[in-house]
Symmetry: C2
Subunit: 190 residues, 2 copies
DNA sequence: CTGTTGTGGTTTCGTGTCGATACTATAGAT
DNA sequence: ATCTATAGTATCGACACGAAACCACAACAG
């Protein structure tokens, strides 16, 4: 099987992005993976802020994720609260420190510059390609797609602000419907 | 500065690719980075098979790279030979074991499947986008582009098989001209 | 021939990643 | 009441990674 050019490119770019991320994150004692975890937690909805969801999102084992979370909690980036409904599950909440850190560490200038060398249409095609690749990859891998609520097949759009999740039956605010959900499933178009 | 969607997607896909790579590489005691190093060494030319070149290619520090190489040598994936011309530099040579390993560990089936869900034109656009992104990124970062010989601005195409490198003045075979060179520079089109 | 400086590589150290395995505690079903 | 599944933690060992100190050779000055 000849090795895929796309795969190779992504591994390579991923590595470079990773080492940049490590450099700028190191001032705040944040490893690349930690940044990804925090970014996820900032953008996920209230059903999806658990260690288990992160395990699916990051593609690591629960032991590893548990370690990272312990560290992040120790450094004051998040709080763990046990769920009142189910005492087994832990809810993860970002602290103000985390929100602030996230605002400070987006891509480096060299990365942004590199992106700007692409034409708008190239950028668009690239984004689209990456997104569908990710979607396909996740679909194969446990079926979790981690999309935002309003694109889910369980999403029921009501009149005005009245949305609802067909899976849990709960009412969703506008804000909710823009967040990442671990139960997200693609609408079947076929 | 709002964080870039492309950057985010690549970090994410990179992480997933990485964890796949770790899984399939673990049977051979190969870490994701090791695989990238071996792949580079398999495809680079005779000027570029040194630790220093790998430092540039992988974007890591020389200490880290030295560690990885030590490990790879210990496991029998490569041999280090000191250069007869300059006793400071080390030349890295893959063993048969390495070549064989490389043949066995290309992307997983799920990854290839995901790629196949893209249309040919999408794949093409994606590849092109990733490539120019990588090129721009490397250009900013030390100027090393790690392209293949025949696309370099020092490459002089002669009659028949007679190629030559304008930088070193040496004669290049057809095979040489298809390999990665650390001295590679884009042809200036402007 | 002797400094001096620069460069290619290695060593050492500390912190963190990561998977594997074993473990705890709660929920839910029979 | 027991059995089983689920969410999470603890511990261990191998390794990644950057930082800093270090060594050997090369190149060049006088």
């Amino acid at each position: 099987m000849k090795t895929s050019r796309i795969h190779q490119l992504i591994e390579r770019l991923g590595l470079l992005a990773r080492s940049e991320s490590r450099r700028i994150g190191s001032e705040m004692a944040l490893q690349p993976v930690h940044v990804q975890a925090l970014q996820y937690l900032e953008r996920c909805n209230r059903y999806s802020n658990t260690p288990a969801a992160l395990v699916g999102y990051l593609g690591q084992t629960k032991g590893t994720v548990s370690q990272s979370l312990k560290l992040l909690a120790r450094e004051g980036y998040l709080e763990k609260r046990t769920d009142p409904e189910d005492a087994r599950v832990v809810r993860l909440h970002l602290t103000p420190k985390a929100h602030q850190a996230l605002r400070q560490l987006p891509p480096t200038e060299t990365w942004m510059h590199a992106e700007r060398t692409l034409s708008p249409s190239e950028r668009k095609a690239l984004t689209a390609g990456l997104e569908s690749l990710l979607k396909a990859l996740q679909a194969a891998h446990g079926g979790r797609t981690f999309g935002i609520c309003s694109t889910c097949r369980h999403f029921q759009n009501g009149v005005g602000e009245e949305h609802r999740c067909g899976l849990t039956g709960e009412v969703l605010t506008d804000d909710d419907s823009r967040r990442i959900c671990q139960e997200h499933e693609e609408r079947r178009s076929a």
